[in-house]
Amino acid sequence: MKAVMKWIAAASLFMSGAAQAEPVTLDIWTIDRPDQYMYLLKDEFEQSHPDIKLNIKTVQFRDMVNDLARATATGESPDVTYIDNPEVALFASRGLLLDLGPMLAESKVIKKEDIFPGPLSSVTWDGKIYGIPRGANTLALYYNADMFKATGLDPDNPPKTWDELYAAAKKLSDPAKNIYGLAFSAVATEEGTFQFLPWLQMAGGDYNKVDTEGGIKVLDFWGKLLDEKLASPDTLIRSQFDSTGTFNAGNAAMAISGPWELPRMGREAKFDYRAALLPIPQEGATRASALGEGDNVILAKSEHPKEAFILLEFLYSKMPDVWNRFGFVPAANVKSNDPKTPAIYAVFEESMKYARNRGPHPEWPKISKAIYTAIQSSLTHQSDAKTALGTAQKQIDAVLNK
């Protein structure tokens, strides 16, 4: 009986397929594994849009820019791809991405006004919009509420300013038990820059203006955390994921990281973990936070821009589910459907309002390198904060004024 049903289903599928035009196949590049975002949404999309097929290829995150650049040079680029936030400008400035403006104006699904300013700026170049954020992430302060209680700190009142953060880290750190006060990442990669920028922005400064009083203040503060062993010296070489791993294992009482940690934290952290907004320099200071995640873009050479945009609309329409299903924070003003870990979600949702884009600039990697090099040379005391940031500023100016 089952077999018969299958035959009927297959036959009817065949008939309906035959009645329609030849389905369009879109080539998609993504950084997802088969249990993530694009793969999970593929089936739903193909069911609701039988005339469009998706052909997905996974590219490693670190290879994406290289592969995409090569593909556009040889004319083998996909129709739709993922691009990390700070790299959109690189491709947009060379005219390799499709300007979505005209289609956005007609769209009933995507309202430009709904997209948060941070994510919107990450897909904007020269006043035009070249991508749709698939979601976002940002930074917050995770803390171990059990350790707060054990050391007499109030778990309902996490550190709000840098001074409070320092005091809490000092109180929580316990070298005898191999516990550091705070885990974060000052690694010499994009991640180091990602963690540093919000601090700089809160203290006064930005990617184009790093040699400020605020910049020196941040590096001196970070240096103090490392020198007094309130954070592990390995902070210099650990990625955010590795650093947060030590928090999950109970070797750090607080950690600065993003929502992508939550699935693993849920499995590994055997304590009451909570989240708070990033501490600010002093009471009343401007807030800032990092902006991560990436965007879905259409390549300018795509032969099926219309179908590709339908896919982008479909993906955008999943925004209320991205927290629960993919661990992203919505990049637009939508109501999340019954978010998991609601208290932590609320923190990230608010943090999102302060999230600022990195750049945009087509030569972002060079700017980023200048910044993380300054962080490292200051934290290793190869030069003082002022000199390190001065050197970085010179390199950044050289890129910006080119």
Partner: protein
């Protein structure tokens, strides 16, 4: 037509055919990439112009840019330290082990075979394991050092800028020892026993025999191992990627990793090419020394 077939089957045509195939291979896979690399080092290249030859020539500007980088000096000396220390220790420990396993004792050849395990493992895996061993907060090495009372405090092998380069060198020495040992073992085995026996009868002691027989007869092997060692050390990339990524603050960065960082992290491909051209020149010098050392090979 018949003539061609005949000369290929049993005339000089066969030699030319074989030579041609080898030459073709060398041209496609060695000469072309090297020349292409040299050309790129004289141009302005980014990812988007990789496939076209039509790029602006800038002369030696890229080389000037490299040398005017503030870290150039650090990276040069790091590379020198990395190569010299790696080779000295790989060679002396490898040679020592080769001599040791040359002695006749039960299981000598099996044990020698086991030593190859380290060489077979991919450098990335070796790097991951050493990263655990070296870990500052929970590494085995620190645990051993502190519990034996050798070190008072934990050493942050990979994040202390004064130590990081040496940590990478230690891992690289470990990785290179088996290769040195095996090549030198082969050399030792080829020295005829009777030479030693004759020397022994003439009253030569152990050290005298080593100095006047083993070393001179091993000259070609040692030359080969050293030159290959220099080349392998200069192309050691995975280990650095797995352990420190050249950090912290470039304190363990070396030329080959720097070249990669230019080409694939900041996409300054012409600068990356320039670094690799300089490395190629150095390797050519080493190879020339190697060829010379084998030309003087002893015959006995």
């Amino acid at each position: 037509m018949q003539g061609i077939i005949r000369t290929i089957r049993d005339g000089s045509g066969f030699d030319i055919l074989l030579l041609g195939l080898a030459l073709l291979y060398l041209i496609i896979f060695s000469a072309f990439p090297i020349i292409y690399n040299i050309i790129m080092s004289l141009q302005t290249v980014d990812m988007f112009t990789l496939t076209s030859f039509n790029r602006p020539f800038v002369g030696l500007q890229n080389y000037y840019d490299i040398f005017s980088q503030p870290v150039a000096g650090t990276i040069f000396w790091n590379t020198v330290k990395f190569v010299v220390l790696s080779i000295v220790f790989q060679l002396s420990i490898g040679f020592g082990l080769a001599l040791f396993f040359q002695q006749d004792f039960p299981g000598a050849s099996y044990l020698r075979g086991l030593f190859l395990a380290g060489w077979i493992m991919p450098a990335l895996v070796v790097g991951a394991i050493w990263k655990w061993l070296f870990a500052g907060d929970f590494g085995v090495i620190n645990y051993a050092l502190t519990s034996l009372g050798i070190a008072d405090d934990r050493i942050f092998w990979l994040s202390d800028p004064n130590v990081a380069l040496y940590a990478v060198i230690i891992a690289n020495i470990w990785l290179g020892i088996p290769f040195n040992m095996i090549l030198l073992s082969v050399g030792l085995a080829s020295i005829p026993r009777d030479v030693y026996e004759a020397a022994e009868l003439d009253g030569a002691g152990v050290f005298e025999r080593f100095r006047s027989i083993t070393l001179p007869l091993m000259r070609a092997q040692l030359g080969a191992v050293i030159s290959l060692g220099v080349i392998f050390t200069l192309q050691q990339f995975d280990l650095i990627a797995a352990l420190t990524q050249g950090g912290p603050a470039d304190s363990s960065n070396v030329a080959q990793y720097w070249s990669w960082q230019f080409s694939f992290q900041t996409y300054e491909i012409s600068l990356g090419s320039a670094v690799s051209v300089l490395m190629i020149i150095f390797v050519i010098v080493v190879a020339a020394v190697y060829v010379r050392s084998t030309r003087h090979e002893h015959s006995y």
